[in-house]
């Protein structure tokens, strides 16, 4: 990263703006206040036209001269300071390092600026939304928690990476995949298959499914991290590849799909850069057990949490399509959920040899 050219980024200016808020307010004898967009369900709307979850206009004031907020305000300025330091040094860092960087004992006291990382993480999100800067732009990365294989050639820090020649382990997707860090030089695939679970991605990778069906296999090991979502989005946008999402058949699987497709509630402002409104839900559908003859005994009884979550999903505006209401209600009425792994009940290679081929052939997916 060291050889990246140093640019006085817009982000840096935005961060310095936090200091200006304080300075200007002090000059005018006003209480320094940051207006932070509210990050909750009540402040997002689903834009039917572009299919994205968008953040509303509601903001909350964070003022310094308010006993309840003073500390948070101070911490926010502290985090802005640390983020600005990253910009100037052109380094990237993790959430945890930000926490350590900003933690110290306040002068003349025995109080820490921060006590746990739980305090600094939301502040970074606050700054992202307030400054309208992506986490990548703030140079904060997550762990590399995703993998990719397939007919794809990338350049990472000047190194050429051919994702067709990395064995079954594939390439570990970095958390920042913006063009200045990662270039896509060649891509001959027909589509992207984003798999929720690492185990099933392994299965497909081992079976060289990507070669047979000429696709890119991506996984995020659960809720896909930003790097994986961003890479899928870039492949979709730059290489015009359709994206299919393969998740467990449970409310969490549905939600993972929806985050990929429409964006998340918490970071709705990023939908613009992350979401893939045309992504398709290929499975596991609540109709599949019947269509594919999965025995009832490989299902798992929905627990109270699952049921509550499913009901929440039913209420989200972006799940109002008739097909989706049917899909979720079918799961609820069956009272069962199914893991992708359950397909192994029929055959170890059932996913590779039967399930996906048939799904693709029948174009059996949900939008």
């Amino acid at each position: 990263m060291a050889q990246k050219p140093r640019r006085t980024s817009a982000v840096e200016k935005k961060l310095v703006g936090v200091a200006d808020v304080v300075i200007t307010a002090a000059q005018r004898r006003k209480d320094p206040t940051l207006a932070i967009p509210v990050r909750s369900l009540s402040n997002v709307t689903f834009n039917q036209r572009n299919g994205l979850i968008e953040m509303g206009k509601r903001k909350q004031a964070r003022s310094f001269f308010n006993v309840g907020m003073a500390k948070k305000f101070m911490q926010t300025v502290l985090v802005a300071d640390a983020l600005c330091e990253l910009q100037r040094a052109n380094l990237t860092t993790s959430l945890r390092e930000i926490y350590y960087r900003t933690k110290h004992t306040i002068k003349n006291s025995h109080e820490n600026t921060l006590d746990t990382q739980d305090e600094s993480d939301p502040l970074i999100e606050d700054l992202e939304v307030t400054l309208a800067a992506l986490r990548e732009e703030l140079h904060v990365r997550a762990e590399n928690a995703g993998s990719v294989v397939g007919p794809l050639v990338l350049v990472d820090d000047g190194d050429r990476v051919d994702c067709a020649k990395l064995g079954k382990g594939g390439y570990s997707v970095p958390s920042i995949v913006e063009p200045e860090y990662l270039q896509i030089t060649r891509c001959t695939a027909d589509f992207v298959l984003l798999v929720e679970k690492g185990t099933q991605w392994n299965r497909l990778s081992e079976d060289k499914f990507w070669r047979t069906y000429n696709c890119i296999l991506l996984t995020g090991n659960g809720q896909p991290p930003r790097g994986v979502r961003r890479l899928a989005r870039r492949l979709h946008e730059e290489k015009r590849l359709p994206v299919y999402v393969l998740v467990d058949n449970d409310p969490w699987g549905y939600y993972i799909y929806s985050v990929i497709k429409q964006g998340s509630i918490n970071l709705a402002f990023e939908s613009q850069r992350m979401a893939i409104p045309k992504a398709k839900f290929i499975g596991l559908s609540s109709g599949d057990p019947e269509s594919y003859g999965l025995p009832r005994n490989v299902g798992i009884k929905l627990n109270d949490k699952d049921i509550a979550r499913a009901r929440e999903l039913l209420a989200y505006t972006w799940f109002q399509k008739k097909s989706w209401q049917e899909e979720i209600k079918r799961m609820l009425s069956s009272g069962l959920k199914y893991e992708l792994d359950a397909l192994a009940n029929k055959d170890f290679q059932y996913l590779t040899k039967q399930y996906l081929p048939r799904k693709l052939k029948e174009k059996d997916w949900l939008d």
Partner: protein
């Protein structure tokens, strides 16, 4: 000492027990059995049942011996109108073996010396070596001792466990000689055996000294001798008590209250307070010739008219001979008495400690930030007048608070927390000024403390538990007859009337504590607000400066922000809340508030010490200090307080500057 001897003896007497219903073949004939019957002396009885008198185990026995001697010393002094000056000495005795540290020793010598009236020569042997011999049993008057059993039982315990006699020195005046006695008890006969008696030279002009050697165990902590002494001081601030510990320390507890409690009057029993058996006994013992005369003469609050009314209600002649009233007639009389409306007994037989003295005792003995005391007016249970007094000491004291703040100076690591201790309040219980150290949970006082809703007063409390926090709860019951749950005088029985009075007294203290806590809370939160802004301004300014590439005029920004902070935390108002302008414990009667700035309220002045350092540091003229008695304790200072002299805001408010 208390022992329901009558009942126990009856149980013991085999002649009263009925024979087994239908013995197939009696193993022992009635004649044989008859031959085995014989008298049991009190002392023999006690030898087998020492637990009834508080000698269950060596540790408790040591405490009981000290307690009996000290209680007697205080009783004697008070009755004689002398301010008590008592010295308690407890030493480990080697007993031939190499000396052991006190915590491992099993034998102790206890010496208690008082400056009381002394005991005349002839009385010394029976007082110390005859059970059930005393001056307090046959009267209804508030005192610590009742039964005439205490000191002789302690002596006998010593005799049983070490074989050593009790040694007594007593002198009744400077002109009289001092008598030295060594006595033992003849347990068969319950009579004193005099091993040695002589006149000796004694440095004291008047008083009594008793020395006993007993088997015991010395261990500090709960229900220890040390705790007994400490708690005795709290309830008896008019006494000077010197405690020479087994470890060789000398703990001086100066007198902190200058007056003897008013001497309680002796009263006759109130008719509501006696049981049928007692009535029968009184009917037999009375000197009156007529029933009406007996009723009017032997009871309190029964006028001749009322006596006639009672007789009429019972269908008995007022002229009946009391001795002839028994059986059914006595029972009818008893019922008639109970259903007649009789005025409550007089209360001048009681001598409560008083709010001022309780405050004084708590303040001297317990570190805290807040003290209060409340006495209830006299009340009556079963014909016995009683008074409940409660007190509270709350907090750790300003020095402690500072110390713990210093301890926190180390930055906390993740997961570490500022330790908030969940210590529970300590309840200290008293009956007629004697601390009750055992059987807490059986006691009406303890139950009343649990039942009080402490949360209403800003103190946390889990269900069915003591309130938590640095708090000592003091409750005293003064009565001519304290109803104990058992012979060993350890817990007060749970009468509704008593419980109610305790609860009312506790609530009053609780309310004052609540007022204090909320006032402090408000002040603290203002203070915290101000602190918060001041602390964070520094951080914010530094961060802004770094964001601005180090080119920020930081001093200016800081100043601007600080000005705003001050304006927002209401400068003077906060000072007021913080008590910096001399608010005093207004609205909180009989209370003391201690802050690092000083002490406010009814602060007791130490007695018998020359006022030193009368010039205060702020140059206040001498006159201003006339109500305050600057004092300085030298040497064995138990507690120190620092702080500035605060000028008294009200005439009743005294402020004391103590030099640390």
């Amino acid at each position: 000492m208390g022992l329901c001897l009558y009942g126990d003896m009856r149980k013991l007497n085999p002649s009263k027990t009925s024979p087994p219903a239908t013995p197939p073949k009696p193993a022992v004939s009635a004649v044989e059995m008859g031959a085995r019957q014989r008298d049991i002396s009190v002392s023999e009885f006690f030898t087998k049942n020492r637990h009834l008198l508080g000698f269950d185990n060596p540790r408790k026995a040591l405490l009981t011996c000290v307690k009996e001697a000290v209680d007697n010393a205080l009783d004697a002094c008070e009755e004689a109108g002398i301010l008590p000056d008592v010295v308690v000495k407890v030493e480990a005795v080697a007993n031939g073996e190499p000396p052991l540290p006190p915590s491992q020793a099993s034998r102790f010598r206890i010496t208690v010396t008082d400056n009381g009236p002394g005991i005349i020569r002839q009385q010394i042997p029976p007082i110390f070596a005859k059970l059930l011999y005393g001056s307090k049993f046959h009267r209804l008057r508030m005192s610590r001792g009742q039964q005439g059993m205490g000191i002789s039982a302690a002596g006998m315990y010593g005799q049983l466990t070490t074989g050593k006699p009790v040694q007594i020195i007593s002198r009744t005046s400077a002109r009289a000689p001092a008598h030295y006695f060594e006595v033992q008890i003849d347990t068969k006969k319950n009579e004193p055996l005099i091993l040695e008696k002589k006149q000796i030279a004694w440095e004291s002009q008047r008083g009594t000294q008793v020395t006993m050697e007993v088997e015991g165990r010395y261990q500090k902590g709960r229900a220890s001798v040390d705790e007994y002494i400490e708690q005795t001081i709290i309830a008896n601030p008019h006494a000077r008590l010197t405690y020479l510990t087994p470890e060789g320390e000398t703990k001086e507890h100066p007198r902190t209250y200058p007056q003897l409690p008013p001497s309680p009057r002796e009263i006759k029993p109130h008719p509501y307070g006696i049981e049928l058996g007692m009535l029968l006994k009184m009917l037999q013992d009375t000197k009156s010739h007529w029933l009406s005369g007996f009723l009017a003469g032997d009871f309190s609050r029964v006028s001749p008219r009322l006596a006639e009314d009672i007789c009429k209600a019972a269908g008995l002649s007022p002229r009946a001979r009391p001795r002839d009233v028994h059986g059914q007639a006595a029972e009818t009389l008893y019922k008639a008495i109970q259903s007649t409306k009789i005025m409550a007994p007089p209360t001048n037989c009681l001598s409560p400690i008083g709010e001022k003295a309780i405050l004084s005792g708590l303040y001297q003995q317990i570190k805290g930030d807040f003290y209060t005391a409340a006495s209830r007016p006299p009340a009556v249970y079963r014909g016995n007048p009683f008074v409940i007094e409660a007190g509270l000491a709350y907090g750790r004291g300003p020095e402690q608070g500072q110390e713990s703040q210093e301890k926190q100076a180390m930055p906390l690591a993740e997961g570490e927390q500022q330790q908030d201790d969940n210590e529970l309040a300590r309840v200290i219980r008293y009956a007629n000024r004697v601390p009750l150290l055992y059987q807490q949970s059986a006691c009406a006082i303890f139950k009343a403390v649990l039942d009080t809703g402490w949360r209403n007063y800003g103190v946390s409390q889990s269900r069915g538990a003591l309130p938590s926090g640095p708090m000592v709860i003091f409750v005293h019951m003064a009565s001519v007859w304290v109803p104990f749950t058992s012979e060993s005088k350890e817990a007060i029985a749970d009468y509704d009337e008593i419980r109610k009075e305790i609860t009312l007294a506790l609530r009053e203290c609780g309310r004052r504590l609540g007022a204090f806590l909320s006032r402090r809370e408000r002040a603290d939160s203002e203070h915290r607000r101000r602190n918060i802004f001041e602390l964070y301004i520094e951080e914010v300014v530094e961060s802004c400066n770094r964001l601005k590439g180090g080119r920020l005029p930081t001093a200016k920004l800081k100043e601007q922000l600080q000005k705003m902070a001050l304006a927002r935390t209401g400068g003077e108002k906060t000072d007021e809340l913080l008590g910096k302008n001399g608010g005093g414990p207004e609205g909180l009667p009989h209370s003391i508030i201690v802050t690092s700035e000083g002490v406010e309220g009814e602060v007791p002045a130490l007695i018998g010490e020359a006022p030193e350092g009368a010039v205060s540091s702020n140059g206040a003229p001498e006159e201003e200090e006339k109500t305050a008695k600057p004092s300085r304790r030298t040497g064995k200072t138990r507690r120190r307080r620092g702080g500035k002299q605060r000028t008294a805001g009200k005439p009743t408010t005294r402020a004391v500057r103590r030099k640390a």
